[in-house]
Symmetry: C2
Subunit: 255 residues, 2 copies
Amino acid sequence: MEPLPFARALTHCDRCAVRKSSLCNRVCVDLQEELSRLSHHRTYCLGETVLGEMEAISFVGIVVSGVLRMQKSLEDGRQQLVGLLFQSDFFGRVFGGLSAHAIEAASDVTLCCYERRAFERLTERFPELEHQLMLSTLDELDAARNWMLLLGCQTTPERVASFLLMLCRRTGTNQWTPGANLSIYVPISRRDMASYLGTTGETISRVIHEMSRKGIIKIRNSQHFEVLNMRQLVKMSAREDLSTGLSSSIRSIAL
Amino acid sequence: MEPLPFARALTHCDRCAVRKSSLCNRVCVDLQEELSRLSHHRTYCLGETVLGEMEAISFVGIVVSGVLRMQKSLEDGRQQLVGLLFQSDFFGRVFGGLSAHAIEAASDVTLCCYERRAFERLTERFPELEHQLMLSTLDELDAARNWMLLLGCQTTPERVASFLLMLCRRTGTNQWTPGANLSIYVPISRRDMASYLGTTGETISRVIHEMSRKGIIKIRNSQHFEVLNMRQLVKMSAREDLSTGLSSSIRSIAL
DNA sequence: TCATCTCATTGATAGGGATCAACGCCGCCG
DNA sequence: CGGCGGCGTTGATCCCTATCAATGAGATGA
């Protein structure tokens, strides 16, 4: 296709897989160009540490593919997974000194990175960039408090069901067609699930197999499930509100 | 005292008790004047609802005196306290539709309020206002994730000790003098403490009296404690990191 | 002043889930 | 190909803490 008159040169960002859904797409063209100039990709393998806990934050960025996990640990080694980051999520903390949590690759990942100080300087010139960050930070805060509700007063089966619904919302809904069963890919290990849900791998395993026995899900393998009864899954989560985030066609089979 | 030549007229904000420590003091004078013009005080009595869960957010603001609690609930009535707001903390969510949690008066409170839409328009004209909000939102996010760590993988005694340390940091340190014991005022009920810590009132009570038996604290009455052994309290919390927030003189007796 | 109500405390009991242990499965590598 | 190590599963046991119940203490109001 011919470039339009006065069209800008294409950047590597124009071919980016997450361009449409990420922060980059919600800012003006000038800023997109600046961001493009600043950005560079990095890749990490499953298990690698992107940013250590209590480490100086030298860069921030956006997840292009794969999954990141954020985790905190106690001095004695106990760990808590405090969040997962999927495609097009922003990672790393701006305007801060040391990272309050580690960021690790929960799968092989590709990240689009910005040197932190440069990115911060950009927010000074472009308030809309800071505004977009603000919006996503507020969403993360809501999500964190939602998780506090889960950790503070829900039972383990409820937590597992809630977690699966969260996965549906964040990753699963795109490739679903009415009539078929919704399939869920769990991108993390049992150990990580347990850490995220404040329980143990053994208990997770028991609960999942119990759900399978009840016909709520089908276990294809340890990472792939199929939802057989969405209504039951939502009921089990005790979180009608979580179904709000599902696409409407999926929600329809849940209620 | 004579006003300086060209000095601006004093506003009610200049006499505000939290002026020095709040967001207002960290922005330019022009913005301070705008904020002053927009602000009005409201008072609520213990137990009153400031903003309901799932309610449209019509105003935001700053806590002048007293304590607010933020809480979320499940459909079946279970509740989780997801945060406490003290003097000079910002409350309410900007750039959002419905409130994700209720905000209630945990004591009699005085709030400095801004009509939400007007406040948001102000952030468009003054990026530094949004920046200050951004900084406090990031801090809240860190705090929320810290609490996830507590709820997800700490025992009840650890949680109670951590909670008391948090209170020391947020409220207790100002009126402490070396030599005296640090006194802690607990501004919320056992039920609220329990909800904040993901446990029950009965368990809280047992743990506190056990701490008293061990000589870590002295119970003046159900709301007032005295720290007899800060080192033990920190150890009990399993959170050396929480002592970082204490003033250095207090930290010194802890380590 | 006494009745009443709420909140905190204390005791007894039961249950959910952590812990410990063993086994199966699978990918990796010598 | 066979040993090995990590992960997931399953079983047995124990303990922490939720729950139920009763009492005490302080506040409120008639």
